[in-house]
Symmetry: D2
């Protein structure tokens, strides 16, 4: 069972804004990159079309606290940890660290809650149980890592 | 004194993702559009280069709760309200409503805290008092609107 | 019959990059905004799901020549003109003008070719005739406007 | 002397659109990623602030021809080749290949022309000679690779 994933990314020019730093909305794109890497490492894609019915993972809550800016060509580690596992939803926290510093530097802290959904006959989404084969591979991270 | 602003926006194709809905990170871009419209309405730009020293407004906290999806060509109203005003920071909440529905529909709820900063001699940012001329124009919204 | 559309847009903060100007990739998002406005004005959406079979409009060629930069809060007019109409494809040119200048200023010139496609039984896209009801509403712009 | 660079990238969820494929504007972001990797490999950043005066590289022409779609989690190789080297500008072509296919598949072909500029006293950009130390490291790719 797995409860964490680390993605590393170099900041791209198009992700900066005129203030010279990464636009704050891009931290939410970074969070997903770590989440999707976590899914792949478990042998899955966040696009779960092979289940019957197909399963989706819309986001219901997202949050980020920004401590230090990220700049062009910085190397950032996005450390994802599963913070909660319910029958129909998952929550993660994300620790952003800038690696290209004398001492890796705390940059930001994020969180995300996603719900497992299936498409109903009328086209609307309804919350559904996380497919067992997938849920069985996921664990909640130890409390001391979630602080 | 002002405490709110409403921006209206039509969802663009490039803002959707393969799930057929607006990518969740774009709600944070929408929030800024309302904030910057609020600043303009007060006669200012969020890029306050005319102050001496120049003032910037980095985001320190951002949050969004998603209730219903937005789709291509939906018309969304982003209703920004000032929820807190401190000497060096402002907080807002955002109510997202889909207008092209029989009854305007609650889509999402967001919040943002921004800090007033000036660039120091060493190039780093330091929190600073909000310029008085600007602060004097801003009020906190009545409590009943912030629920 | 129609051959042009003008969209106006204010440059958003998230569209700028650390050079202080609109990132060049965003001009291609601006082009689409004008194209989709053109479709809507004719009573259609670029998402033509009501046709049987549903019709899509992938881009096969895109080009932009940049003459002057656009900056935050600039007002830009995107003037789209149909430059070619074939049985299965459309081509447009786009003239970008900055409106908040003493004299509206030529900023950029773009072009786009899109193909009408339907999804085949095997899931792949195949070029298809533009639905007649839609094609009948579209004309090529006079040559003197396309220079 | 160097004339090429290959970057590899996995398609991210936020880069797809409701058609289920990578939004066409993102190919221009991918092009830059390869260009900036090329600069770094030569010991430089596209942000050349250490030159006196500082040098910038605005784009003056961009083009892309799309042959096959890219989808979520596809692995794409962006092969950049220097196609022209002038005293004040560089041109590149880009070959996009999807790697996660039985045989790597041709996806798209792009091109970009960038100009070396310095900021003048009045704040405007003016074309300038490419700094010699940098220019000396760059060669034009052999003709047979540019077809």
């Amino acid at each position: 069972m797995a409860y964490e994933f680390k993605a590393i990314r170099r900041v791209e020019f198009s992700e900066t804004d005129m203030a010279g730093i990464v636009h704050y909305s891009n931290f939410f794109r970074y969070m997903e990159i770590a989440e999707h890497g976590f899914f792949r490492e478990l042998g899955y894609s966040v696009v779960m079309n092979h289940f019957e019915p197909p399963v989706g993972w819309p986001r219901v809550h997202a949050e980020c606290e920004y401590r230090q800016p990220l700049r062009f060509e910085d190397e950032v580690e996005i450390h994802m940890l599963v913070s909660e596992k319910k029958s129909k939803s998952l929550s993660y926290i994300f620790k952003f660290r800038k690696l290209n510093a004398t001492i890796p530097m705390d940059i930001a802290r994020g969180s995300l809650t996603v719900v497992c959904v299936v498409k109903q006959a009328d086209g609307r989404m309804a919350a559904a149980h996380i497919p067992k084969a997938f849920a069985d591979k996921i664990d909640v991270a130890p409390a001391e890592l979630l602080t």
